[in-house]
């Protein structure tokens, strides 16, 4: 049944693309229906898959002469991530309710992107995974370039080029692995059994890992992320931060680590204190955590704060992956889910609820608007989301980051200490943004228009309330009862670490 999430999304996209212009309300409801149906399928699949290992959904030969199969399957990790996709898809449609420009095209691109994301998470053929991964690039470009805001064409092109460069690296690695394994199958299971020579893994692993990690926002290849997130329309930034960056992290885990585990072995020599690719990528992850947080401290644009915080939080995911131990990798997968929900919520508040009413994202201008009194709903939502984002207990981020930090401590205690700095700075930038945007007492300067302050801000609409409640609820649920996801993730991570996807 889970395969229908993909078919349904693409069918919905096609239908919306063919819809005549001007039927905006119909387009919205159609998109919502598709997204909700997808979520329902995912929840059902998640519940059915509880306590089970990998379930094959479809497996038919696609290109028999090259050994490519159309193979969809789901294990615990995939199930958690498609659950995230389903939630983010519904929330994204809700927060796009006010799109009036070329509505049907917007939702067509949106659903095509969702379909590609579902496809990546469900593919168990390396080739198929790559196909879906690339399918997801094009809609992103158009979503940002057409419906975006700040420097949207620049942001969209930058994102497309970075994504395509990353996937070119992945494609080279894919071709190399396919050839090295004897050119008869591209199934992840077969490739994991191929026993590539260690020297091959040593260069193929960093290539593929970096290719995927570009999309996961790894420092120093993260620069597409803040501009992309800021340039994108709200729902697209929710998806970018919420699920698209997870595609990269998922690829790192499912392809990079699972197929080329020996690429992480020590080199046998030290270069400026680094002894393996694992050290290199962990260092980059830690730099990303601290750098993202520090840069977020000094942003003048509210949305850039959230954009850089995503870089910081995705650093935790990569750090978790590099621990290579049960608890750290489990934490990384949980962090993917948790950050997907919380970043989506933050972008929704900043981009949709606040910006669409105030028409500014400059913290200096928001300071004088007294939003905590005029938009109490937004203020409360942001306080909760901010608390969840800094990893406060009772919310999902707490368990995720704690597991990553424990895992990191078990390998190299200094990783944990450095990442801890990121957490402290994280509290600071969230606090600063919250204070400036909502709770400042600053008096309006003479530059701002008086009328801007007198007129009533538009009331909060039902899609916004539904979206906020849904995302907060999910984060709270996972925070209180993390086993709901951990029961799925842990066995899958265990099998994966024990020997790829065998």
């Amino acid at each position: 049944m889970l395969a229908w999430t993909i078919y349904l999304s693409f069918a919905g996209a096609l239908l919306l693309a063919l819809l005549p212009n001007g039927r905006n309300a119909l387009a919205r409801w159609l998109a919502l229906a598709v997204a909700v149906a997808g979520l329902a399928l995912v929840v059902r699949g998640f519940a059915e898959g509880m306590g089970q290992g990998r379930i094959t959904i479809v497996d038919i030969p696609w290109v028999p002469s090259m050994g490519i199969h159309f193979m969809l399957a789901a294990d615990g990790i995939s199930r958690v991530l498609i659950l995230l996709t389903g939630l983010a898809a519904v929330a994204g449609v809700l927060f796009s309710w006010n799109i009036e420009l070329r509505t049907n095209e917007y939702f067509a691109f949106y659903l095509a992107l969702i379909g590609g994301v579902y496809g990546v998470f469900l593919s168990f053929d390396l080739f198929l995974l790559f196909v879906f991964y690339e399918i997801a690039i094009v809609p992103k470009y158009f979503l940002i370039a057409i419906w975006g805001s700040t420097r949207r064409e620049y942001a969209a092109m930058k994102l497309a080029i970075y994504s395509f460069a990353g996937s070119a690296m992945v494609l080279i690695g894919l071709l190399a692995a396919y050839t090295a394994a004897g050119s008869h199958s591209t199934g992840l299971v077969d490739l994991a059994r191929a026993n590539f020579p260690a020297s091959f893994q040593m260069w193929c692993f960093p290539l593929v890992f970096t290719g995927f990690a570009i999309l996961a926002g790894m420092w120093p290849f993260h620069t597409w992320a803040p501009t992309g997130h800021v340039g994108a329309p709200t729902a697209a930034s929710m998806l970018l931060a919420g699920v698209v960056m997870k595609l990269g992290a998922y690829g790192c885990l499912r392809v990079g680590i699972a197929l080329f585990p020996r690429g992480l072995d020590p080199w046998g020599f030290y270069f400026i204190g680094l002894g393996s690719w694992r050290d290199v990528f962990a260092l980059l992850a830690v730099i990303g955590i601290a750098y993202g947080a520090l840069v977020a401290m000094v942003q003048a644009d509210f949305k850039f704060v959230i954009g850089y915080s995503s870089v910081s939080h995705m650093g935790f995911v990569l750090l978790g992956l590099m621990t290579l131990n049960q608890i750290g990798v489990t934490g990384a997968v949980l962090q993917m889910f948790s950050h997907g929900i919380i970043a989506g919520l933050l972008f929704a508040i900043v981009g949709r609820i606040v910006y669409e009413r105030t028409h500014t994202r400059k913290l200096a201008e928001l300071e004088s608007m007294h939003l905590s009194k005029r938009l109490p709903f937004a203020a409360v939502a942001f306080v909760i989301a901010g608390y969840a984002s800094i990893g406060g207990p009772l919310f999902s981020g707490f368990w995720a980051e704690m597991q990553i930090l424990i895992g990191a401590w078990m390998v190299r205690p200094w990783w944990t200490m450095a990442a801890g700095v990121g957490i402290v700075v994280g509290v600071a930038y969230t606090w600063r943004a919250m204070q400036k945007a909502f709770f400042s007492d600053a008096v309006p300067s003479t530059h701002t228009l008086e009328t801007e302050h007198d007129h009533q801000l538009a009331a909060i609409t039902w899609p916004e309330v539904t979206g906020v409640v849904m995302l907060t609820g999910v984060s709270l649920l996972v925070g209180i009862w993390p086993r709901v996801l951990l029961d799925s993730i842990e066995p899958a991570v265990k099998t994966l670490l024990a020997g790829g996807v065998r």
Binding site: S65, M66, F130, I135, F142, F164, I172, L175, Y178, S183
Partner: protein
């Protein structure tokens, strides 16, 4: 040889020539007083019927071809049939795009020249003798010069044709010069005997001179760096329908010829027979000769990928952009032609040769898959350019502004075709690239082929930028002029058909792969 055999083997060519004559008779004889639109439609449909008849003739052919003195002169069946069928289908599509065109009053002449050039293309793909190859190539080239000059109202068309003709004449001279060396070295014009004799005597430096001259001549035909200078001007100046023909049919035919020459003349393991030690000796000589020959092709391939893609980045004319992207695509294809397993010099060459035959046919199939799908896509791209140019009077990037409002269907077709050219899955262009690169690596996974494949993949990431530059104007940037653009219904139908083929062949790549593999 007898004439019945000759007729049997050249039936497809004969069918096309007959069709060309019928078109001329009908148009110049019966339809002199009729409106231009009707004449164009009738002529084009007759031409399409001729292509259909030729296709039918190919399906009837049996045997391997025509032998003279025990050596193959005209081949048919196998990959030749694939290439010929591809040429005929692509010709038919370009003729369909001609319906509704008004750049010329000479409908019959245009169609007849297209058909004759296509005949040259068919001849080139099946010929195994230097003289027949040269005649076929000239028949093709002369047709292309005339087609380029067909836009008599446009000065650019005449200029482009003159440039094309001058460059073409020079490259033909190079090619002929190279052929005469080959003849002088081997005493034969037949590829089989040339290879045999050269392998027997061992190679001389003159052989490499001959090969460089042949590469220069054929490199011009397929437009690879540094013989590419004519392409942007010709693509820009020729009428769009003629440019589509040049970019697709002529490319398929010329690459098929290059493949024939490199596979049958130069690449080790052509039609060799004899005692075991003789074969061993011949093959060893061939292997020793092949490495430097392949190196020349690989250098040309790498240069084409880099120059083509980088130059396309800065183009403001969509036709020139397509021309430079065509140069880049030619570079990818050359990679598939030139890669062969490296013989270490140790052990039995014969056994080594037996181990290479499977992958070699794999890469031949991959090259044809690439050529045919690329030809299909580029015809569609020029079809869209033709419609836009007809409405706006220019092919500059800015004339595509707001196309999604002016004609949403046309914009969607362009989106699919350009994404396919950029190699985005699941469109057919992606499979072509993947299949080609996988074939190259399965033939030889050594560091050099791998580095070149990595370069090709990296360069196709660069190519996304310039394709997106066009699509950005189509979908993103605001329109200056929002009046709808009307396309002729037949053109529109052809374009939709091509777009549908790009999607369907992309989603089910096994269809075309299986078909090519079945020959």
């Amino acid at each position: 040889m007898n004439y019945a055999d000759l007729f049997r083997v050249t039936m497809p060519e004969t069918a096309l020539e007959m069709a060309a004559l019928v078109v001329l008779i009908v148009d110049l004889g019966l339809l002199r007083k009729t409106a231009l639109g009707v004449r164009v439609t009738v002529a084009a449909l007759l031409g399409v019927a001729g292509c259909g008849a030729a296709l039918w003739c190919i399906s009837l052919q049996t045997g391997f071809g025509l032998y003279v003195d025990g050596a193959l002169v005209l081949a048919n069946g196998g990959v030749v049939a694939v290439a010929q069928a591809g040429i005929l289908v692509l010709t038919a599509l370009t003729l369909m795009l001609f319906i509704g065109a008004d750049f010329t009053r000479h409908a019959a002449e245009y169609v007849a020249v297209v058909l004759m050039a296509a005949t040259g293309g068919l001849l080139v793909t099946s010929a195994r003798d230097l003289l027949v190859i040269f005649v076929g190539l000239e028949l093709l080239s002369l047709g292309l010069y005339i087609l380029t000059a067909f836009g008599k109202k446009s000065g650019k068309s005449a200029e482009a044709a003159l440039k094309y003709y001058l460059f073409g004449g020079m490259s033909a001279a190079f090619l002929l010069f190279g052929f005469s060396y080959l003849y002088g070295l081997s005493g034969s014009t037949n590829l089989y005997w040339i290879q045999y004799n050269i392998a027997e005597t061992g190679t001389s430096p003159l052989f490499y001179v001959a090969w460089i001259l042949v590469v220069a001549g054929l490199g011009f035909k397929v437009a690879v760096v540094p013989f590419h200078l004519w392409a942007p001007d010709t693509y820009e100046g020729a009428p769009a329908q003629a440019a589509a023909f040049i970019a697709s049919v002529s490319k398929v035919a010329s690459f098929a010829l290059l493949l024939t020459i490199s596979r049958n003349l130069l690449m080790p393991g052509g039609p060799i027979s004899g005692q075991k030690d003789v074969v061993e000796h011949l093959l060893r000589n061939e292997y020793l000769a092949w490495q430097p020959l392949a190196a020349i092709l690989l250098i040309v391939a790498a240069a084409s990928m880099i120059v083509g893609n980088l130059a396309a980045l800065v183009q403001v004319s969509v036709r020139r952009l397509l021309a430079y992207s065509a140069i880049a695509h030619a570079g990818y294809i050359l990679l598939g032609i030139a890669t062969q397993r490296t013989y270490s010099g140790q052990g039995s060459t014969f056994e080594f040769f037996l181990g290479t035959t499977g992958p070699a046919s794999l890469s031949t199939n991959a090259v044809f898959y690439y050529l045919l799908t690329y030809g299909l896509t580029i015809i569609g791209a020029f079809g869209v350019v033709a419609v836009v140019e007809h409405a706006t009077g220019s092919d500059r990037l800015d004339s595509f502004l707001g196309l999604h409002k002016r004609n949403p269907l046309l914009a969607a077709v362009l989106l699919l075709l350009f994404l396919s050219l950029a190699g985005i899955p699941p469109l057919v262009g992606f499979w072509a690239k993947f299949n080609l690169f996988a074939a190259v690596l399965s033939v030889n996974a050594g560091p050099v082929p791998f580095a070149l494949v990595a370069l090709a993949v990296a360069m196709s990431a660069v190519s996304l930028y310039y394709y997106l530059q066009v699509l950005k104007r189509v979908y993103v940037m605001p329109a200056i002029d929002e009046t709808p653009i009307k396309a002729h219904p037949v053109s529109m139908a052809v374009l939709l058909l091509i777009a549908a083929a790009v999607v369907v062949l992309g989603c089910f790549p096994a269809l075309l792969l299986g078909w090519i593999g079945s020959f």
